[in-house]
């Protein structure tokens, strides 16, 4: 089961009945009765997007978790690096390097730069 707030994929219990997400600490039925999911996500991110309960899973990365959960647009600029020029370069011995330049917009999606 996936947390509807932070997109953590391995919830042991359904997100209801006062169960608590070990990642973002949301208590379902309590916190989400007061705040919307987006507000709770914003609060978790503003607090540093830290793992809540015990030790985080090995190699856990909150920003990757959000991106994989379709919430990449909420990754703060400095952690997701929007507004950067992103070039993919293929080096080859016998052709000129082909460069594809993409520009990430504020929400992390890609648009080809002319």
């Amino acid at each position: 089961m996936t947390c509807p707030i932070c997109a953590y994929k391995n919830l042991s219990y359904p997100p209801r009945d006062y169960n608590i997400c070990p990642c973002c600490s949301t208590e379902f039925g309590n916190d989400d009765a007061v705040y919307s999911h987006r507000q709770l996500l914003g609060m978790w991110i503003a607090g540093g997007a830290n793992w809540f309960f015990g030790r985080a899973p090995e190699h856990w990365n909150p920003w990757l978790q959000l991106i994989q959960g379709g919430l990449g647009m909420y990754v703060p600029a400095q952690f997701g690096a929007p507004y950067i020029n992103f070039q993919l370069v293929a080096n080859s011995a016998n052709v000129e390097p082909a460069i594809v330049t993409n520009r990430l917009n504020a929400y992390g999606s890609l648009a080809l730069a002319a």
Binding site: F79, G80, A81, P82, I84, Q87, A98
Partner: protein
């Protein structure tokens, strides 16, 4: 035993109805240009979708094996990014197996050579040597435009 035929990184894989794969924008290097003074945190991830595409040649009998393709991404300092992914091979007799690992997000917290490792496991044991290739991440700092507010 499966033998590697192709293993590359690209921006997108399109598989036609007949199973023929087209690879879009093979790459071996990523250049980021960020405003001067930007500090990129070590756990930063660019919301960039990309793929590791591989093709494997089976031997007779492989179609009865329970092989998994494992893929690991290492930072330049050899620490691991994300989890090791495990995808089950679908093997047919006398047919090459194509595997596409779609990756959402590219780590950009370190500059230098990232390593992509792929190997075959059966019953959670490695049964092949890893194939590995590198993707270099370079970060350029762009000068602020003259007169721009800071």
């Amino acid at each position: 035993m499966l033998k590697p035929y192709v293993c590359v990184a690209c921006e997108k894989v399109i598989v036609a109805q007949d199973g023929v794969a087209s690879l879009i924008a093979l790459f071996s290097k990523i250049i980021l240009t960020v405003p001067a003074g930007t500090e990129i945190p070590p756990n930063a991830v660019a919301p960039k979708e990309w793929a590791v595409f591989s093709i494997w040649d089976p031997e007779p009998g492989d179609e009865r094996r329970n092989y998994f393709l494992c893929t690991q991404i290492l930072y330049p300092d050899e620490s691991q990014f994300g989890q090791i992914t495990r995808s089950k091979f679908n093997i047919e007799v006398n047919k090459r197996s194509q595997m596409t690992l779609q990756v959402q997000g590219f780590p950009i917290g370190q500059t230098g050579e990232y390593t992509i490792l792929s190997w075959v496991e059966e019953n959670e044991k490695k049964v092949s040597d890893p194939i590995q290739f590198g993707i270099e991440v370079i970060i350029n700092f762009a000068a602020s435009p003259a007169g721009a507010a800071t």
